[in-house]
């Protein structure tokens, strides 16, 4: 499949009164048609600026953005507006017209592109059905819950039958259950229409839930990108590893780090252990690997965490172990696990930093 979104050597700098802020540095990425692509990073990492460059709400300082092979910089303003109708966008705060009814909100993009009123209405009603809100056509956004408002926003974003849907922290203002429902809806739309979805988020859970590919953004740069499954199993960059261990949101992680720094860890002796993270794939789940390892080495291990996570619809077992302080033994233990086809990763440094215990 061809790349529907192609970003090449993108830079964005903001000029404030007394400083130049480099929001994006040398970003390059390709998003395939029909993909669900996540862009994850902490707040202030530049991911919102990045997504706004994809429809030129922000004009990059340098570099190119190609949508369906078209260079956005080469378009006239009316061509750009026309193209934008093919790139839907939803937001953290929904951004609905508060003084217009649900149906009028959905008609808005259609009407501004010259669709006759009756036709726009018909299309809007169909979209309302898709998002499961047919009964709310005449309601005003203020009368709806957050999840319902986001459904309206999704219907509006889909009004002009776009090929791409940009989601800027679309579930960040919603509770976990509503987040699930919205992600489910996005998944369904992706499956049924083949629309390409770009998801900006600070939550690893969202990425794991729905994305096929992910780019991790830190300080305005992409530090790692690839298949979610691959990055979940073998994270390479520090940011990725921090995001994945415990599946914590980066903001939360920061906070805990501060807390640990302030109070010291509650179980300091555990830091002497070597920490590893292992991920079980389907095949490795049959053999009682950990038990066998303990029997083989006659050396106890400390199970710090064990969990199964749903990565793109596949269950993945994840475990964090504290191994012996003896490097000779722990090296052999790791080799033993790797022989059995497990993905093993030394996370001693990161775990110590964040106080996983």
């Amino acid at each position: 499949m061809a790349a529907i979104i192609e970003v090449k050597d993108l830079y964005k700098t903001f000029q404030t009164k007394d400083a130049t802020v480099e929001a994006l540095k040398d970003i390059s990425l390709q998003i395939e048609e029909g993909d669900v692509f996540g862009i994850i990073g902490m707040s202030g990492a530049g991911k919102s600026t990045l997504v706004r460059c994809l429809n030129y709400l922000e004009v990059p300082t340098k570099g190119t953005v190609l949508i369906g092979g078209k260079d956005l910089a080469a378009l006239t303003s009316s061509e750009l507006r026309e193209l934008r109708s093919k790139i839907g966008m939803i937001f953290q705060n929904f951004n609905l017209l508060m003084q217009s009814t649900v149906i009028d909100n959905i008609c808005f993009p259609l009407l501004i592109h010259g669709t006759p009123k009756a036709e726009a209405r018909k299309r809007a009603e169909k979209l309302l059905e898709t998002v499961g809100l047919s009964s709310k056509a005449k309601a005003y956004p203020a009368q709806l819950s957050g999840g319902q408002r986001q459904r309206v926003a999704i219907a509006r974003a889909l009004a002009c039958d776009p090929r791409i849907l940009l989601c800027d922290e679309a579930t960040s203002a919603l509770d976990p259950q509503t987040t699930q429902q919205i992600l489910e809806l996005l998944r369904k739309i992706n499956r049924e229409t083949g629309i390409t979805i770009v998801i900006i988020t600070h939550s690893m859970n969202v990425v794991r839930e729905i994305c096929h590919n992910v780019a991790i953004v830190e300080n305005g740069e992409i530090v790692e990108q690839g298949l979610v499954e691959e990055i979940f199993t073998h994270p390479k960059s520090r940011a990725a590893r921090r995001l994945i261990i415990e599946g914590k949101d980066p903001d939360q992680w920061e906070k805990e780090q501060e807390k640990t720094a302030a109070h010291g860890s509650t179980v300091p002796e555990l830091h002497e252990h070597r920490r590893i993270r292992i991920v079980f794939t389907k095949n490795s789940s049959y053999e009682p690997v950990i038990a066998n390892m303990i029997l083989t080495f006659q050396e106890p291990v400390n199970i710090l965490k064990a969990d199964t996570k749903d990565v793109g619809g596949v269950a993945r077992g994840e475990m964090i172990l504290g191994l012996s302080t003896d490097k000779g033994i722990s090296d052999r233990q790791i080799a033993y696990l790797e022989e059995r086809g497990l993905a093993v990763e030394d996370i001693t440094d990161i775990a110590a930093e964040a106080g996983v215990n």
Binding site: R81, R84, M89, F91, M98, Q99, S100, P109, I112, Q143
Partner: protein
């Protein structure tokens, strides 16, 4: 009060209402585009333009800083040119419009600036042009605030119109000056005051009612 005086007061009420409403209407024909232009060219606007904003801004400030009573006298040549006389309620509309327009521009500017930037961004992401955003987003979303502004404007213009009574501007203010002040007829003075209060109350009531009815932001 004689029946002549009563008839005069009734005519005064109509003149006041006439001056106020016509001035507000014409004032908005000038002030609304002016306020929109201020919002659009402002620093955070849809199409920032420092030069244009500066001119519109300074011009509004200058006009706003001339007291109405002085404005009445200053624009007399223009009034003469447009209406053919400088007294009576139709003549008073000229200085009223000139004083009200920059006030309205400011009201409109502040109302439109209240519109959530995210909603504008959503419209832009849907491919709306600036003109479409002005008419379909800004004016619609700010309508409650715009109506409140218009209500305040009507009250202010009504007050100004009474002031025009000092130079023969017609309406209730004129009657209050001539009968209440020059002839010490307290009963007429108080009647006009009460009628002015009632008029302000009435306009305020209508304005509030419309804006409450229009506001869909609350459940």
């Amino acid at each position: 009060m004689t029946s002549n005086e009563i008839n005069m007061i009734i005519a005064g009420v109509w003149q006041t209402v006439y001056m106020t409403l016509v001035s507000t209407l014409i004032g908005y024909l000038i002030g609304l585009p002016w306020g929109i232009a201020l919002t659009v060219t402002g620093q955070e606007g849809l199409h920032p333009n420092r030069g244009v904003y500066r001119v519109l801004d300074v011009f509004a400030n200058i006009m706003r800083s001339v007291p109405f009573l002085i404005m009445l006298i200053l624009v007399m040549p223009l009034t003469m040119l447009l209406v053919g006389k400088t007294y009576g309620s139709t003549a008073t509309i000229v200085p009223l419009v000139i004083s009200a327009a920059p006030l309205i521009a400011r009201m409109v500017e502040s109302s439109l600036n209240e519109v959530d930037h995210g909603v504008i961004e959503a419209a832009q992401s849907a491919g709306a042009s600036n003109l479409q955003i002005i008419f379909r987003v800004l004016l619609g979303e700010a309508r409650v605030s715009l109506i409140s502004g218009a209500t305040i404007t009507v009250g202010t213009i009504l007050g100004y119109s009474a002031m025009a009574g000092t130079i023969g501007g017609g309406g209730l203010g004129d009657i209050a000056i001539r009968y209440g002040y020059y002839r010490y007829q307290a009963n007429i003075l108080w009647t006009t005051v009460i009628l002015l209060v009632l008029l302000v109350q009435l306009f305020q009531f209508i304005g509030t009612m419309i804006s409450v009815k229009m506001d869909k932001r609350h459940n």
